[in-house]
């Protein structure tokens, strides 16, 4: 059953600092930030002002001028990224292949805006007057379904909403489906859209940087005091290697393994023993047939939260031991913000770029070292390096810990 190899053949990215795979890789290499004062919402009455918005994104550029009016932002983002990915993979969906192709999408918090919009109309105008076109987007599986409707992809359609780890969780679901033959090619999507609903929710819950200290998105930096909320969409086309070879696809990289575990500790809280994260890292190395020293780069999930960045550092030290401070670790969230279920896909796209273009994206905005975070974070400036194996980490305060290994093909 483990004979099938799973490869990545297409990448579509809509990120706060770039649109399109090539531009994204270049932006990461330059250390270009996508974090700026928010423009999509009014932050006048809030202490937090920054966001990782895809401010230059125009859906019409990818989806044409018509039929977009009732679509929510998350759907527009992911449908656009899907177009980029399908083009990048040179994958044409036909009557013959559509039943062998599926979509799995990671998204969790974007739905809050659709629910808010629908509810506001019910409250303001009464339930008999609310626009019925607003109802479908209140279900989290809508963006994924729209991608299927638009591109006529019929094999299967699944949405995974596990918060911070959803991006890699969707990858695991897809890899499992390829290995069991449920599909031959899968669009692995991840999307979150920035909205007032999410911003206010995270602000009031105390997660955003800027409430009690200088607002900054500085993973591993001593000054870190919360996330800067980001948005984005990625679609990766992953395939059964045989299928990719058959259709002469360009193969970017191989997915060697994905492992997901749960802390079972406390709701929305970090397990101080980081058992799930360590377990996930150890088991994914095992699944990938690698040892600790084989990892050339760790694409971190550090997001400028005190405990997150420290706990991830600790987990890396305990798993990688003598190699821990020799393996470069960096957080692209320093440039993109924390985009929850979109992060995993962005990290995967970045990791493939690292492998293909032999560079390590930097952790930018780094000024003040933290003695508890003392690994090599490739601070502020990217670095040239031959990268063969990347460990990608997804973890957060929900208790989910999912890691993946991407490798040079």
């Amino acid at each position: 059953m483990d004979n099938k190899k799973v490869v990545i053949t297409g990448i579509g990215v809509i990120a706060p600092n770039a649109i399109g795979r090539e531009s994204f890789w270049q932006a990461l290499q330059k250390g270009t930030t996508g974090i700026k004062p928010a423009t999509l919402i009014d932050t006048t009455y809030f202490k937090s002002k920054l966001a990782g918005e895809c401010a230059d994104f125009k859906a019409e550029d990818f989806l044409g001028p018509k039929g977009l009016r009732n679509l929510d932002r998350a759907t527009l983002l992911v449908a656009s990224a899907a177009k980029l990915a399908l083009d990048d993979a040179c994958l044409e969906i036909t009557e013959e292949n559509t039943d062998d192709i599926g979509v799995v999408t990671a998204t969790t918090v974007s739905v809050a805006f659709a629910i808010a919009k629908f509810t506001k109309e019910v409250v303001d105008d009464g339930p008999q007057m609310v626009n019925p076109a607003l109802f479908p987007a209140t279900t989290m599986n809508y963006p994924s379904s729209y991608v299927a409707i638009r591109y006529k992809i019929k094999g299967f359609n699944t949405t995974i909403s596990t918060g911070h780890s959803a991006g890699l969780d969707a990858l695991k679901y897809a890899v499992d489906f390829i290995k069991t033959g449920r599909a031959r090619a899968i669009l692995v999507a991840g999307v979150e859209s920035f909205s007032f609903s999410n911003f206010v929710g995270f602000y009031k819950a105390g997660f955003l940087s800027g409430r009690k200290a200088e607002e900054t998105c500085s993973p591993f930096d001593k000054r870190r005091n919360g996330i800067v909320l980001g948005e984005g969409a990625t679609v990766l086309v992953i395939e059964d290697e045989e299928y990719a070879i058959q259709r002469k696809a360009n193969i970017y990289a191989q997915v060697l393994g994905v492992k997901a575990f749960f802390d079972a500790y406390r709701t929305a809280d970090y397990d101080p023993r980081i058992r799930g994260l360590k377990n996930s890292m150890k088991k994914v190395l095992e699944e990938s047939g690698l040892s600790e020293e084989d990892i050339d780069y760790i694409c971190s999930s550090a997001n400028s939260v005190q405990r997150q960045d420290r706990l991830e550092t600790q987990a890396i030290k305990e798993v990688f031991n003598i190699y821990a401070n020799k393996i470069p670790v960096s957080s692209i969230k320093s440039m993109l913000g924390e985009s929850i279920s979109a992060s995993g896909g962005l990290q995967l796209a970045a990791s493939v770029g690292a492998i293909k273009n032999s560079f390590i994206p930097p952790t930018i905005n780094y000024k003040v070292p933290d003695p508890d975070c003392d690994l090599d974070y490739v601070v502020n400036v990217s670095r040239k390096a031959e990268i063969k194996n990347v460990l990608v980490i997804n973890f957060g305060p929900g208790g989910n810990n999912t890691t993946a290994v991407i490798s040079k093909y």
Binding site: I115, P132, G155, G163
Partner: protein
């Protein structure tokens, strides 16, 4: 290729409008009792419909520590309760299975009501009225997380919001994970609390009946909204036999398809495909199926499309296959529906009884199937197809079979 492990169901937990606990639930189901009553979760005076399948007499403290209850959204509470019942039913102490090979996969449609309630507070009073505790509860993945925390399940923990078929997606993936060895034990199913958004939305789509749900009936007027949770405890056949567990049924396989057609309406081609793929994955022929637990929402479109698809596959070789819809009794419990219905499939196999489709008065020539009208039917059931078709054309069908382990 599939792993060679076989996956069985050894525990069932149900929280429903027909009772809390699988025994009372099943007794009411086979007696054709309706769980539909006047909605009390919110004020329905502005609506044309006032009926729903709400869970009655649910006391969260019966299933979780009192101090935790106020921190948990309703959908999480229902899922924890059903999971607790499933574990008890499986006769397996948590201490014995807590590990990273014990996982949780749960499906839902609208998630935690706390998100709707927050939206409502905001719309009525503004940001100042937002309740922080509700904000913490609102994220949908809390549902599976809370179950994982309660039962110390440290394996994979997934939340699959695949709307009206979510339960089947969860059960199917749980089956995949045990088969491939990622997990040894899984709690898989669905949970949904009575949603104001869904209630309003379905009304505006003219999909909701004012009084009752009458699947396959010529004069059917639509669905009735419901709530509840169905959780199955899954393990390998070998494990179940080794520890002498009671086995309800085996998961033989499942199929998925996507209509890629319309956000709310189904496409018959997609429905035909998903049922065929389920049969193929389970390695059974249509003649082997004794009972189809229909999606049967009671809308004009769904029932007609589903009946058409059933006849396309079963019409020639198995015209007499029994088809019934539990939604006639429970209403549409959304993310929980295919999971609660999966539980009924297992019980049908165990007892050789097929649940009825109640509220049936007038046959519809466009729904040319035996829908087991109004009265349950005794029949030896060895293989069952459980249908789930969701918004967005997200379809998933699971096949359950009697265990033949020798």
């Amino acid at each position: 290729m599939k792993g060679s492990r076989r996956v069985v169901i050894t525990g069932i937990g149900i929280v429903s409008s027909l009772g809390i606990g699988k025994d009372i639930f099943w007794k009411n189901i086979i007696n054709g009792v309706s769980g539909i009553s006047e909605v009390t979760s919110f004020d329905t005076s502005a609506y044309k419909c006032h009926m729903g399948g709400e869970v009655k007499n649910f006391v969260p403290e019966d299933f979780m520590p009192k101090r935790k209850v106020k921190f948990l959204g309703k959908t999480s509470q229902l899922a924890i309760a059903a999971s607790s019942l499933a574990l008890k039913d499986a006769n397996i102490p948590i201490k014995a299975i807590t590990s990273d090979k014990f996982g949780v996969v749960i499906g839902t449609t609208l998630g935690e009501r706390s998100m709707e309630e927050s939206a409502e507070s905001w719309a009525k009073g503004g940001i100042k009225d937002l309740n922080i505790q509700k904000l913490f509860q609102a994220a949908v993945n809390n549902i599976s997380s809370n179950v994982g925390i309660q039962f110390k399940a440290r394996g994979l923990n997934y939340l699959i919001p695949n709307a009206c078929a979510a339960g089947n997606y969860a059960i199917g993936y749980g089956y995949d994970l045990i088969k491939n060895g990622d997990l040894n034990f899984a709690l898989a199913g669905g949970s949904e609390s009575f949603s104001h958004v869904a209630f309003a939305g379905f009304q505006r789509l003219y999909a909701m009946s004012a009084d009752k749900c009458a699947p396959f009936d010529k004069n059917r007027k639509g669905m009735i909204l419901g709530e509840g949770s169905g959780m199955l405890f899954l393990e390998s056949l070998e494990s179940a036999l080794k520890r002498g567990a009671g086995i309800y049924a085996e998961v033989l396989g499942y199929g998925l398809s996507c209509d890629a057609y319309n956000a709310t309406a189904s496409d018959v081609k997609g429905i035909v495909k998903v049922m065929q793929k389920a049969l193929k994955d389970a390695n059974v022929n249509c003649e082997d199926i004794d009972y189809i637990c229909a999606h049967g929402t009671g809308t004009l479109m769904n029932d007609k499309t589903e009946a058409m698809a059933i006849n396309e596959i079963f019409g020639q070789k198995n015209k007499g296959v029994l088809v019934s819809s539990l939604k006639s009794m429970l209403g549409h419990t959304m993310g929980a529906s295919s999971a609660i219905e999966a539980a009924a499939c297992c019980l049908a196999i165990r007892d050789g009884i097929v649940p009825p489709t109640i509220n049936f008065e007038t046959p519809d020539p466009e729904c040319d199937i035996d829908c087991v009208p109004n009265k349950a039917r005794k029949k030896k059931i060895t293989t069952v197809l459980n249908n789930g078709f969701a918004f967005g054309g997200n379809n998933c069908c699971v096949v359950f079979g009697e265990v033949n382990s020798w």
